[in-house]
């Protein structure tokens, strides 16, 4: 989706607000939203965050976006209702659930690295050294292909292995595993002659985002 979240290369978005040694969390509620998302095993919030309208997205703080996305997801999945969010109380008629995450499982999961790489043998369409171009596509829902790579030519630097395509539009019921490649673009190619001739950008891209150049 060509949404506000896809902001690579935009200008005029204010100050970075850099602070040395700044902590990851500022207010106690921030880490609690973070933990609620993990406790609900509710990863994969990105599509919900990206649906937040641009003006709201820019106004919200980072963990406010997480809260909004989590609530939207839980309501749309039928896990909680709007009325329950409004009242803060469970519908007396609802069935009490069993927590997805117990303390013991939480401790184990925290330091077990999840594996999303797929053990599937697929013939790669591209190889290290190939020149490839970012396809000019405009998916209307979740994608991991930034706008600034579209129509730009780069070189395959590395084959990352096989991962499921994350694009909502292209993946309905069936997963779509494919190779992911590390692509090298020169700054000149992406940003024009005024960019530094020495500089470059590296990004991992799914096979469907690329075409031979």
């Amino acid at each position: 989706m060509n949404g506000i979240h896809d902001m690579g290369g935009m200008q005029g978005l204010g100050e970075i607000g850099y602070k040395e040694n700044e902590p990851g969390f500022h207010e106690p509620w921030e880490v609690r939203v973070f933990a609620l998302v993990q406790a609900m095993r509710s990863g994969g919030l990105r599509p919900y965050i990206e649906r937040i309208p641009a003006a709201d997205y820019l106004r919200m703080s980072y963990y406010e976006r997480w809260y909004t996305a989590l609530v939207t997801r839980l309501i749309e999945s039928g896990i909680i209702t709007r009325a329950e969010v409004k009242s803060g109380r469970a519908d007396p008629a609802s069935v009490k659930a069993t927590p997805a995450l117990t303390p013991a499982v939480a401790r184990e999961l925290l330091f077990r690295t999840p594996r999303t790489e797929q053990d599937i043998e697929l013939t790669p369409r591209f190889h290290v050294g190939d020149r490839v171009r970012g396809r000019t596509i405009h998916p209307t829902t979740h994608t991991r292909m930034p706008r600034y790579t579209r129509g730009k030519t780069g070189v395959v630097e590395r084959d990352r292995g096989v991962f499921n395509l994350p694009d909502s539009e292209r993946v309905s019921a069936e997963p779509k595993p494919q190779h992911v490649y590390l692509i090298h673009f020169t700054a000149h190619e992406l940003w024009g002659e005024e960019a530094s001739a020495h500089d470059s950008l590296y990004i991992d891209m799914w096979e469907d985002y690329l075409e031979p150049a």
């Binding site: 902001m7 690579g8 290369g9 935009m10 200008q11 978005l13 970075i16 850099y18 040694n21 990851g24 969390f25 207010e27 509620w29 880490v31 609690r32 973070f34 933990a35 609620l36 993990q38 406790a39 609900m40 990105r46 309208p53 709201d56 703080s61 406010e64 809260y67 909004t68 609530v71 309501i75 909680i80 329950e84 409004k86 803060g88 469970a90 659930a97 995450l101 117990t102 303390p103 939480a106 999961l109 925290l110 330091f111 690295t113 999840p114 999303t116 790489e117 930034p146 600034y148 292995g161 992911v180 590390l182 960019a195 530094s196 020495h198 500089d199 470059s200 950008l201 590296y202 991992d204």
Partner: protein
């Protein structure tokens, strides 16, 4: 406080505008419904507030500085070499370590959201997630680095890593001069999170003081 209603304001117009109260209400709802175990939640909060952070990454960097064989393993397969320290977990499936040298400077960004190597750096600081950092770092990395206090000579190659797919990235900073006789543990104390994101260099230790 300004209005902080979400875009889904029509969904919950009656919820408090204060995020702390809204989150508290959501938490108690999820606990009441049996969806969240309070003890599991406290474990998660404690872990991500106190146990996971850039000190992990600093140990990895210091080891790479003193042990050439480890450094090679780290650059060849970051995930496996980092797992030697027992650092693993969410957002750590494929860790790629990129090395700064006198002629190459690497900097990490996630333009689409906030991808970040949690097992070695913890959760990202606010500035890393800011619209300005995410938007500008790809088109004007030298300007961003300069704003953050790092001016690079023109002949240094800047490599920007937009981490938003399979891999998470961490920068192996240059070992500062004057640290030849410093122990691995003391070296680790010199390494900052910002150097491992690539927006700073590791400073030489000052005589009689810290970094």
């Amino acid at each position: 406080m300004s209005q902080r209603h979400s875009d889904h304001a029509q969904d919950h117009t009656d919820v408090p505008s204060d995020p702390a109260l809204r989150v508290k209400a959501l938490e108690s709802l999820l606990v009441e419904k049996g969806l969240v175990d309070p003890a599991a939640l406290e474990g998660l909060v404690d872990t991500y507030e106190h146990k996971v952070g850039p000190r992990n990454g600093a140990q990895v960097v210091a080891r790479a500085w003193v042990d050439p064989a480890y450094k090679q393993r780290l650059l060849d397969d970051g995930t496996a070499a980092i797992a030697e320290f027992g650092f693993s977990g969410w957002q750590g499936e494929k860790l790629t370590v990129v090395e700064n040298t006198p002629s190459v400077h690497n900097v990490i960004v996630c333009t689409l959201c906030s991808c970040y190597p949690w097992p070695v750096l913890g959760l990202p600081p606010t500035w890393y997630k800011s619209s300005a950092y995410r938007s500008r770092t790809v088109i004007d990395p030298r300007g961003v680095l300069s704003d953050l206090g790092l001016d690079l000579p023109d002949d240094v190659e800047v490599r920007v890593w937009d981490s938003n797919a399979a891999s998470r990235y961490i920068v192996l900073p240059e070992r500062p001069q004057g640290t030849e006789s410093i122990s691995e543990a003391d070296l680790a104390r010199l390494v900052t999170r910002d150097a491992m994101i690539g927006v700073a260099k590791v400073a030489s230790p000052r005589v009689g003081g810290g970094a």
